[in-house]
């Protein structure tokens, strides 16, 4: 493939988005067709390009002022290629699924326009060759996410969730931007290639630890926001207000993983600061555990999956922090498959149940929706770490990394894995087994083929994804060779916690009408929203109130109007002086003359 064709990867989706927005909005079928076509074409292009090993195209200057240039440059190393295939592949599958899922929505054009915009932005992040370009597409995925979460903007909850997602991400981006600026300010470059070269040449070797730590931390901030790490994870569960394909594509498989991808991309920089790696690892570990705990006691099918996503993202970030970016990326890929699958399956269920999402109102879907059930089960098992399925391998790679560094994070990871298996079996038991608890559940029917086929495709990937050699590609040829020789301890422990988790879940939730566990704190998401409401949001409100008051009453009233009043006062004084009548005038006249005389006498 000629290298210049890579540009189509960006041009097709943005063209599709613009075309739909500007022209095709009234034509829903055409919009959908254009969007799906562009997604498909992108996937084909990606496969073709990767297969033929096409070189990256010539960069183009986007913004230039004196000697400062921002390039639109592509960087297509194995990391990017793997991610590209995952993004375009999963994206295409989900586009197809959406055809069915959104078939009866009046705003379908807008939906597909948003999806195309997202594909553009996400592809941009993947192929980006420098920090500013990453930041640009970073913001753009944020916006497409905002638009799609708020797709049903008539719902106040959706509009609120969209805002929350955008603003929380902006908080992360604040640090991200400063990190980029710091990198540029100290290393004087923005491109990943030159930066890497400089660092490998020892540019940071003599640096004090603090600036490098802050630099790495700044970049990590972006990932914290985008990949929903504690403490900025709060937006992701709310983002489930969007249509389910969006949740699958953006808020499970691809966009939220962009943070992890980016960390791997700049790992050469982050690894220069050991404290930063520690911070990253522990943030990831904490996220994994906290989210898994909360997931245990959620009742909304999508929210369980959302917290599970947060938890798995924490896993990946932890892997980066443990200096195992390949493991992180591996888990990212497998997670993309099975989490997309899980969401699509959940979408299939929701679609069939006419937008019922509470698992306690489901039940018995195993028989009503067999394909959905089996694919869901495949995904759930993969997520839970069933040996032989993709999730087992990738999760095990991460735990292995923790084991190698003898980090206490290994135990934390295992606990999380147990919880994962537990809540997934809980979800499957409550939603699919037993009897239907509501009429809608009892009357559910299998979804149409356009939705089922993507499920099957993803299910296959989830099952075999561990064996596709992705890990090898990511670790490089040499590392792949000695990857075989890992010990027995970690796989054994993994299997143990998997079995324990599934067993406990199946035992506890078999034929239940309501949740046997109370765990109010977990049900209330460990009060993150409440704490933020009482602190950050309240402080923001107070500050806004105060400065508004300051602006109105101090600056505007006191200074500005005060000046006006003083002027008016002087004017009135003049006026009243003028009211004294003719004799008064004579007196004032004489007084004026006396003043002049006095002045002359004093001089």
């Amino acid at each position: 493939m000629p290298g210049a064709l890579w540009w189509l990867l960006l041009l097709l989706p943005i063209g599709s988005a613009l075309l739909i927005t500007a022209v095709l909005r009234p034509y829903r079928v055409a919009s959908a067709a254009v969007s799906v076509f562009s997604a498909g074409a992108c996937f084909m292009l990606a496969v073709w390009g990767v297969a033929s090993g096409a070189a990256a195209p010539e960069p183009v200057a986007w913004l230039r002022a004196s000697d400062w240039v921002v390039m639109v440059a592509m960087m297509l190393d194995p990391l990017a290629e793997v991610m590209l295939l995952v993004v375009t592949g999963v994206g295409f599958v989900i586009h197809v699924f959406s055809l069915g899922y959104m078939s009866d929505d009046p705003g379908r054009s807008r939906f597909f326009g948003g999806l195309s915009l997202f594909m553009f932005s996400m592809t941009g992040i993947v192929v980006s060759g420098n920090l500013v370009m990453t930041f640009i597409f970073w913001e753009l995925v944020g916006v497409s996410s905002y638009l799609l979460i708020g797709f049903w903007f008539e719902r106040p909850s959706a509009a609120a969730a969209a805002n929350k997602a955008f603003i929380v991400n902006r908080i992360g981006d604040f640090g991200f931007l400063l990190g980029i600026l710091a990198v540029w300010g100290t290393l004087g470059d923005l491109g990943f290639g030159p930066l890497r070269a400089k660092i490998e040449a020892g540019a940071l070797d003599t640096a004090p630890w603090l600036p490098v730590f802050l630099m790495a931390l700044g970049l990590f901030c972006g990932a914290v926001g985008k990949s929903a790490q504690v403490p900025l994870h709060v937006w992701l569960p709310d983002a489930m207000e969007g249509p389910t394909p969006v949740s699958a594509l953006i808020h499970a498989a691809t966009m939220v993983a962009a943070g992890v991808y980016f960390l791997c991309r700049v790992f050469f920089l982050i690894e220069m600061s050991v404290p930063a790696l520690d911070v990253i690892a522990w943030t990831g570990g904490a996220t994994a555990l906290v989210a898994a705990l909360i997931a245990v006691r959620q009742d909304d099918i999508k929210r369980v999956l959302a917290y599970s996503t947060v938890s798995q993202l924490g896993y990946m970030v932890m892997a980066v922090g443990l200096a195992a970016p390949a493991a992180a990326m591996f888990h990212l890929c497998t997670h993309a498959f099975f989490k997309a699958l899980l969401f699509l399956a959940a979408g299939s269920v929701i679609h069939a149940l006419h937008h019922q999402q509470d698992i306690w109102k489901m039940g018995g879907l195993r028989t009503a929706m067999p394909v959905t059930f089996w694919t869901f089960a495949a995904g759930a098992l993969a997520l839970a770490g069933c040996p032989g399925l993709s999730g087992f391998f990738s999760k095990e790679a991460i735990l292995e990394a923790a084991h190698e560094t003898a980090s206490p994070l290994l135990w934390l990871g295992l606990l999380t894995a147990f919880l994962t298996a537990f809540y997934m079996s809980r979800l499957a038991m409550v939603a699919f087994f037993g009897e239907g608890r509501e009429r809608r559940a009892r009357e559910a029917k299998e979804s149409p083929a356009v939705m089922v086929v993507p499920l099957v495709v993803l299910a296959v990937l989830s099952v075999v994804g561990g064996g596709l050699g992705i890990y090898g590609v990511l670790r490089g040829e040499a590392a792949a060779a000695d990857a075989e020789g890992h010990g027995w301890l970690v796989p054994a422990l993994s299997f143990l916690v998997f079995a324990a988790g599934v067993g406990t879940g199946a035992w506890l939730y078999r034929d239940r009408e309501r949740d046997p566990l109370r765990l109010g704190a977990l049900r209330d998401k460990l009060y993150f929203d409440e704490v933020y409401g009482a602190t950050v949001v309240a402080a923001n409100g107070r500050l806004a109130q105060f400065w508004d008051w300051f602006d109105h009453f101090v600056i505007s009233s006191l200074f500005v109007r005060g000046t006006g009043l003083v002027a008016g006062g002087v004017g009135n004084a003049c006026r009243f002086l003028q009211g004294v009548g003719a004799s008064g005038y004579a007196f004032l006249f004489a007084a004026g003359a006396a003043l002049l005389l006095l002045w002359a006498a004093v001089r």
Binding site: G581, A586, A590
Partner: protein
């Protein structure tokens, strides 16, 4: 001791100030007007004195101009005061207060 220049000047200045005070203090327009004439007279006195002491006649000629102008001013002024009295039945300055502020 014969009165010197400064004595005359002092008298003239006093007359000027008295006139000024009258203008400021008095409320009757005619009286005020007379006080104005008093001030002019102070000027006239000074002029004549200086003319005398300088040994010139310029100043004394100037006095005639002053007197003429003052006469014209009085003519107009009295006409105005009469008109005012006709219109308002008053010659008091402090009752002229339509134009204020």
């Amino acid at each position: 001791m014969s009165p010197g220049l400064l004595h005359y000047l002092a008298v003239s200045g006093l007359i000027f100030l008295i006139g000024l005070a009258g203008v400021v203090v008095r409320r009757n327009i005619i009286v005020v007007y007379m006080c104005l004439e008093l001030m002019l007279a102070a000027g006239v006195l000074a002029m004549v004195v200086f003319s005398r002491f300088l040994g010139q006649t310029d100043g004394q000629v100037f006095v005639f101009f002053i007197i003429t102008v003052a006469a014209a001013e009085v003519a107009v002024g009295l006409a105005l005061i009469v008109a005012l009295f006709r219109a308002r039945r008053t010659t008091r300055l402090d009752e002229l207060n339509t134009l204020r502020f």
